[in-house]
Structures are given as structure tokens and as C-alpha cells.
């Protein structure tokens, strides 16, 4: 890779603003008991003690992030105020190497797009290395005056804030530079992990964080993303170019678990299961999550043209077997040591065709399913190489592929409806399928130019801008703009699954499928037919999945491989054997004695606390849980007509309305009335099951029962009831 400056020049230009020394604490049963606090406004660096209350109530990961942020901000704090923090916390199980998917970190911050609290999970080595350097969390507050890096030297117990004027900003370069700069030699590079963002994060609100890991087989840094909610934008607003951690303290038992033998036994069982079953089941080891592309199209769930449709005949041009050929095979692609699921696939030697890196050959991490669907089909793009190029630039420029895909698709629909024209887009012909225009939009975003800057505000703010400046129809934009709470939708069409409509819009942070993915259970299996059934699923699954984020675990090994006996269990959707694995992992690391009920309880405390946090920031009530109608049903006649038989049948059989003699517009209207009423009934059922009042506010008895009835929490909730 060509760099403007040599590593020596970059190093020489660094000026140490603050140096802090500490004695790295050994981990005990998954915790160090200490958090590293760094304030970039004052250059204060200190260690905070992790209390027993934090461990008992908030567990770690997302829980610790929420707790620290809760204490750092007021209800008036904005994302770009110095008080806002970025908290990275891995959780107690994170860092074990015996069980697949145990290297995740959770990042928490106030989001530029939602204005409320955001959590985003990510792989890569930074989180585990942070722990192995002696910290259960890293809390960054304040804003630097000039570009800085923060370096945590876990081997020597030293933390520095350093001015860093010469490094690149874009991640595929800066992560290489910082890895080389802080490693003692080439062999030491695998002991270095970094966090960075990119140029588009500086000019948009959808910036993401890249967490690196050094791939010694490829001799290059790989990038995993904390994608959702604009935390990369917060990082660059704080003038952080990079975070670096270095430690050689990497062993299978660095967590000092309570019961190593239990971890070994549980891990071996799953490794064997993956080796036996993956090639018969999801092909995660060869295709990653991209195995889902043609399947989603088969089930009418693949977003096409801004979620208008759920399938396309060209979807097979981007099918799993296409990606399998493009991904380098035969390399153990785990984003943490010991992960035999190995789904962090990569395209090697990809020659970039546009933009500032045209002609460069690069490693592209992914694309994963969400990226293929987001920057691909959702924008009407079915060219795999275009998807890889968009994936590469989103990553290195530091923007979330999901948000970029959804907002570009929204802009494309506005363009096709002549709400915006080439005059507003600066000459971009933003028709569905125009990948050159999508790429140029991304380059404009990175340069902070024209329509790139407007689009980079995200769908919610684009809607407001188009109404105010272009006289657009606010109601139509509300219907087609796929955001809720200010966060862009992730990539599943939810029109035919009421439960998934709730799974998206009844989330804490916004419509991201990492809380609940209930489409098959609801739409295909017909297993949760009543509102109460759906509400139960919308209670259990979001809580179960929250638990991964408290402990530093990846969700994929839970249900992207399944034991042969799973089909004969009472509740196969929960994968009971794997649930027991997680109970064993937690007990094996921490020495506690939880069961599967307590596992859910642990999440319930944090989940409700996050709901109250939303209240604190001025959100968290019913009106914020309403999805755009495009997520619920057909907005336009074109959509209705494309699935006319299905919708006519539903009108007749489910809504009791005879469609004969009705115009398409009338049928769209009747369908909408029916579906919106259904959704409101679902909301009532879910609130009841979650122990919230009819406005979506957790009841005082719920808070008490969950032991999160802290004085400030109770006072806040009382003031909102």
C-alpha cells in the first residue's frame, strides 16, 4: 500500500500529550475489576474500579457501557458535546479461546442519527486485548484539539495520548500504519489491535468504527465493524484518529476462569458439531452470512428497490455460490482465536476501480449478507464486483454499509419520483441499479461535498431536508423512508411478518435485527399466531440476544449451526443445547451458578435500563415505536399489484373485506387500515408482556422486581408517567 509518509516520519511527528503508567491487573474469573478512563479535553487518564453492583446488575459489555454513559450525560447532552462518551467493553466471557465467537466487544455512545443511546457489537482483537491489558472497559470522554491516537501498552502498563498529524484517516491504511508503528517487529503485529474510522465519518452522521486484527497468513490487517448508529462520527468528532492496544498476554486461560475444564468440554462439543454439520447446514465456513442471499429472495424477504419488493430474478447473480468463489478458501477466517465457525470471509487482491484508491489491490472484508442486500439489492444493484467496491469504500471511509445502503435506496426512490433531480444531486443519476452513481455518492460523502453531505445525514434528516427545501410530501417520505428512531433499517423485508415489524420497531436502539429475527417463526411456520404468542417471542428473543452483548459473544454460533438432535427438542427455535452451552460458559468463567432463567433475567435488567435511558434522552415512548408503513405493508399501487393475489387473499380472509370491485388505491387504503390496527394491538401485547405501561414506560414495579430501582432511575420514570 502506498503511504504518503513513511512509518518513521509518522512516528517522529507524534507528540506525547499525556503519559500514564499502571500495573496491569490479572484477570480473575473474566474480570480485571478496572476500567480505563481517558478524557481528551483535559488529557486526564485514570483508572476506575468496577464495583460488584456493576458486575451483578450490568454484567459487562453493553451493560457497562450503558452504566458509564448514564452517569456521564444528562438528558440534554448531544452526541457532539464533550460529555458524550465512547465506551468499549468486552464482557466477562470475551477472550476465551475454547468456544467459537468469543471475541466480541460492545460499543456504546450517544448516536448522531438517533440522539439517544446506541450500542453496536463488533469482532476483531481490540476488546479481548483491552481485557488482557487489564481493563474491563475503556471510557473515552472529551474532545481533543488536534488529531490524536490513544495507545494502551498492556505489556508495559503504559497509556499515552499522542498527537498524530501524519497518519491517514481511512481505515484500510491507518490500521496498517498503526499496527506497524506500535508492533516491535513483524511477528509482534498480531499482538496489536486498533480502532479507527474514515473520511466519510467526518462528513456524515453514519460513521462506523473499524476494529482491526492482524491476519498473519495474509500479512495484512483485517477490519470488523461496529456499524450501527454513527459511533465512527463520534470518534472523529473527538478528533481520535485511532485507538491502539498491544499485549502479548494471549493465552487460552488469560481470563483465569473458575472452571477451565468445563469451558474445554463445552467448546470441544461445539467444534465437533461445526465440523460435522456446517457443510450440510449454513456453509458459514465457506460463505459466511452471504449464504442467505438467494434464500432471502426465495422467501420474498430480500429488500429490492428500497424495500418495495422482497425478491428479484437477478438475486442469483449475487448468490452464495458466487461469493464462495470470490472468497479466499482454506484459511481459518475467525475474527477471534479459536472460532471454528470462521465466517469472517474476505476477498483478496481486489482491484479497486474508482475513487482515490483506483488501481490498488486490497483485502475486502466481507461482504456479509447485510452488505450484499444493503448496497446491492436494496439499491437495485446486482453486480457482485460493484457490491465489493461499495463494501470496500464504506469500510475504509468509515460508514455503515447498512445505513449507506438504506439511505441510498431512499434517495434513489426519491430520484425516481422526481422529488430530487440531477440539480439537487449534483449531476448524479440516482436511478435504482446505477452502481456508478452509488459509488460517486459515497466518494462525495467522503469529500464532504454537495449531495453526499446531505445524504450522509441519514434517512430521517434527509426527509426533513427534502420537505423543507424541495417541498416534498412529508407523508409519502415518512411512508418510504426506512428508518425508525432515526436509525436506518437493516436488510429484511418485514411486510408479511407482524412479529418482525415489532422486532424492528420495538427495539431499544432502532431497527436492527440483532434483537429479534422472527420472520420464519411467524410468517412461514405460523408458530406464533396470536398477539400473545408474538409478544412472548418479542420478550424472550430480544432478551436472549441481549445476553450475548453483555458477555462479549457472537450470536452466530448460537443458531447458524445446530446439533442433529435439535429437531427433536421441545423448543427447537431456541436451540436448547446451545442455550445450556452458554449457561455453562458463564458459570465456567465466573464461577457463578446461573440457569437459563437467570440468563434471561440478566438481560432483562439491562434491557429495561436501556429503555429508561431512552426516556432520559427524550425518547422511549410509544410514538417512537411506530414503523414507517413501507415496513408494514404496500405503500404504492405498484407494490400492491406486484403481490396482488397475496394481498387480495389477505383482505378477504384476514380483514374480512371483499376486494372485488375495489380499485387498487382503495385496496391499498383498506389493507393499511387493517395492518396498522394489527400493529397497534401488537404493541399493547408486547408492552404488557414486558411490564411496561400503555405508553411503553417500564412500570415502577418492573424496575423494582429487576433491582434497577435506583433513585435517579425511579425519579426519572416517575416524572415521565
Amino acid at each position: 500500500m502506498e503511504n504518503k509518509y513513511s512509518i518513521e516520519e509518522i512516528k517522529k511527528a507524534h507528540k506525547i500529550l499525556k503519559e500514564f503508567t499502571y500495573s496491569p491487573k490479572s484477570l480473575s474469573k473474566g474480570y480485571s475489576g478496572e476500567t480505563l478512563y481517558v478524557n481528551l479535553s483535559t488529557n486526564e487518564i485514570k483508572i476506575k474500579q468496577v464495583t460488584d453492583q456493576m458486575k451483578n446488575i450490568f454484567i459487562g459489555g453493553r451493560g457497562f457501557g450503558l452504566w458509564y454513559l448514564w452517569n456521564a450525560v444528562t438528558g440534554k447532552t448531544k452526541w457532539n458535546d464533550p460529555e458524550n462518551e465512547i465506551i468499549i467493553s468486552p464482557g466477562p466471557i470475551c477472550g476465551i479461546t475454547q468456544y467459537p465467537g468469543a471475541g466480541k466487544s460492545l460499543v456504546v455512545s450517544l448516536s448522531p442519527t438517533t440522539g439517544s443511546v446506541m450500542d453496536s457489537n463488533v469482532g476483531g482483537y481490540f476488546g479481548p486485548y483491552l481485557k488482557f491489558s487489564g481493563f474491563d472497559a475503556l471510557e473515552i470522554q472529551g474532545k481533543a484539539e488536534k488529531d490524536v491516537v490513544v495507545f494502551i501498552d498492556g505489556d508495559n502498563g503504559r497509556v499515552t495520548i499522542e498527537e498524530a498529524p501524519l497518519e491517514e484517516v481511512n481505515s484500510h491504511i491507518i490500521c496498517e500504519q498503526l499496527t506497524e508503528l506500535y508492533a516491535k517487529d513483524e511477528a509482534d503485529r498480531m499482538h496489536v489491535a486498533t480502532v479507527a474510522s474514515g473520511k466519510a465519518a467526518e462528513h456524515s452522521l453514519i460513521g462506523h468504527l473499524n476494529f482491526s486484527f492482524y491476519d498473519k497468513r495474509r500479512k495484512g490487517t483485517r477490519l470488523k465493524q461496529a456499524g450501527r448508529g454513527g459511533i465512527g462520527t463520534v470518534l472523529r468528532d473527538k478528533k481520535v484518529k485511532g485507538l491502539i492496544v498491544r499485549t502479548s498476554n494471549i493465552k487460552g486461560d488469560t481470563n483465569n476462569p473458575a472452571d477451565q475444564a468445563l469451558l474445554n468440554k463445552t467448546g470441544i462439543k461445539l467444534h465437533k458439531e461445526i465440523y460435522r454439520n456446517d457443510e450440510k447446514q449454513c456453509h458459514m465456513r465457506t460463505q459466511g452470512t452471504a449464504h442467505l442471499v438467494e434464500i432471502m429472495s426465495d422467501y420474498d424477504l430480500l429488500p429490492v428497490n428500497n424495500f418495495k419488493f422482497g425478491a428479484h430474478e437477478k438475486a442469483r447473480q449475487m448468490a452464495s455460490w458466487v461469493w464462495q468463489k470470490k472468497f479466499t478458501q482454506g484459511i481459518p477466517d475467525g475474527c477471534w482465536f479459536g472460532c471454528t465457525m470462521a465466517c469472517a470471509k474476505a476477498v483478496d487482491g481486489f482491484e479497486v476501480k474508482t475513487g482515490p484508491y483506483k488501481g490498488h489491490k486490497v483485502i475486502v472484508d466481507g461482504p456479509e449478507y447485510e452488505t450484499v442486500a444493503g448496497v446491492g439489492s436494496c439499491c437495485g444493484i446486482f453486480d457482485p464486483d460493484a457490491v465489493i467496491e461499495l463494501n470496500f469504500y464504506c469500510d475504509t471511509y468509515g460508514v455503515d454499509t447498512i445505513s449507506f445502503g438504506t439511505l441510498t435506496a431512499f434517495a434513489m426512490e426519491c430520484f425516481e419520483n422526481k422529488i430530487i433531480t440531477e440539480k439537487e444531486t449534483g449531476g448524479l443519476k440516482l436511478n435504482f441499479g446505477n452502481h456508478e452513481a452509488a459509488l460517486e455518492l459515497l466518494h462525495m460523502m467522503a469529500r464532504g461535498e454537495g449531495f453526499g453531505k446531505i445524504a450522509g445525514m441519514g434517512v430521517r434528516k434527509m426527509k426533513e431536508y427534502f420537505v423543507k427545501n424541495y417541498g416534498a410530501d412529508a407523508k409519502f417520505l415518512q411512508d418510504i423512508g426506512m428508518e425508525c428512531k432515526g436509525l436506518e433499517y437493516s436488510q429484511y423485508v418485514s411486510k408479511e411478518s407482524l412479529a418482525q415489524q415489532g422486532g424492528y420497531a420495538l427495539t431499544n436502539k432502532g431497527p436492527q435485527h440483532d434483537e429479534a429475527w422472527l420472520i420464519f417463526m411467524d410468517m412461514v411456520n405460523n408458530h406464533i399466531p396470536t398477539f400473545e404468542n408474538k409478544a412472548e417471542a418479542l420478550h424472550y428473543f430480544p432478551l436472549f440476544r441481549t445476553w450475548f452483548g453483555l458477555n462479549g459473544l457472537c450470536k452466530l454460533p448460537w443458531n447458524d449451526v445446530e446439533p442433529e438432535t435439535n429437531s427433536k427438542t421441545d423448543e427447537p427455535a431456541k436451540v436448547p443445547e446451545h442455550v445450556q452451552n452458554y449457561v455453562d460458559l458463564f458459570n465456567g468463567v465466573t464461577g457463578k451458578n446461573i440457569d437459563k432463567k437467570e440468563l434471561i433475567r440478566m438481560s432483562e435488567r439491562v434491557y429495561n435500563f436501556q429503555r429508561v435511558f431512552n426516556l432520559k434522552m427524550g425518547f422511549g415512548t410509544r410514538e417512537h415505536d411506530i414503523p414507517p408503513y413501507r415496513s408494514v405493508g404496500p405503500v404504492t399501487s405498484e407494490e400492491y399489484e406486484s403481490r396482488k393475489d397475496r394481498y387480495d387473499k389477505q383482505l378477504k380472509e384476514k380483514a374480512g373485506i371483499d376486494p372485488a370491485g375495489l380499485s387498487t388505491e382503495e385496496k391499498v387504503k383498506k389493507m393499511r387500515e387493517f395492518r396498522e390496527k394489527q400493529y397497534q394491538t401488537l404493541v399493547d401485547a408486547v408492552y404488557k408482556r414486558r411490564g411496561w405501561n400503555e405508553r411503553g414506560i417500564p412500570k415502577l414495579e418492573t424496575l423494582k422486581e429487576l433491582s434497577i430501582d435506583f433513585e435517579d432511575v425511579v425519579n426519572l420514570v416517575k416524572s415521565k408517567i
Binding site: K280, D298, Y369, M521, V524, P572, A573, V575
Partner: protein, 65 residues
């Protein structure tokens, strides 16, 4: 006629589980098939024939991101 996940599907002679899955476009790999409440193992999908009037459950598990 048979019933698949509570939907009516046209039946024909010698309809195997594999064939039914193709007709329904059920391409997802993590599924459980039960015919009249009896579990059908994956290796038997090609050979297990479905009788007219059967009640078939094709239970899709969860996967993905």
C-alpha cells in the same frame, strides 16, 4: 390436497418431501419436516412419499446476522 404450515397445497402421486420443498421454494437449510406429526430425517427427504390429505409442518429455524 395437502396442508403445509396451514396452507393448502395441491398434491400429486409420488410426491416426496424433497419435491414439496422445491414446490414451496423452501430453500432454507435449517428446517425440520414433520408429516402427520412424524419427524422425517433429512436423508429420507428424497424417498419419503407424502400421502394425499397429509398435514405437513416445515419448521424453519432461525439463522443470520
Amino acid at each position: 390436497m395437502i396442508e403445509v404450515n396451514e396452507n393448502k397445497i395441491a398434491w400429486h402421486e409420488n410426491m416426496s418431501v424433497s419435491e414439496l420443498l422445491k414446490i414451496c421454494k423452501y430453500s432454507f437449510p435449517l428446517i425440520i419436516v414433520k408429516v402427520n406429526g412424524e419427524f422425517v430425517a433429512r436423508p429420507e427427504y428424497e424417498t419419503h412419499l407424502i400421502a394425499d390429505g397429509s398435514n405437513v409442518s416445515v419448521i424453519h429455524l432461525m439463522s443470520g446476522g
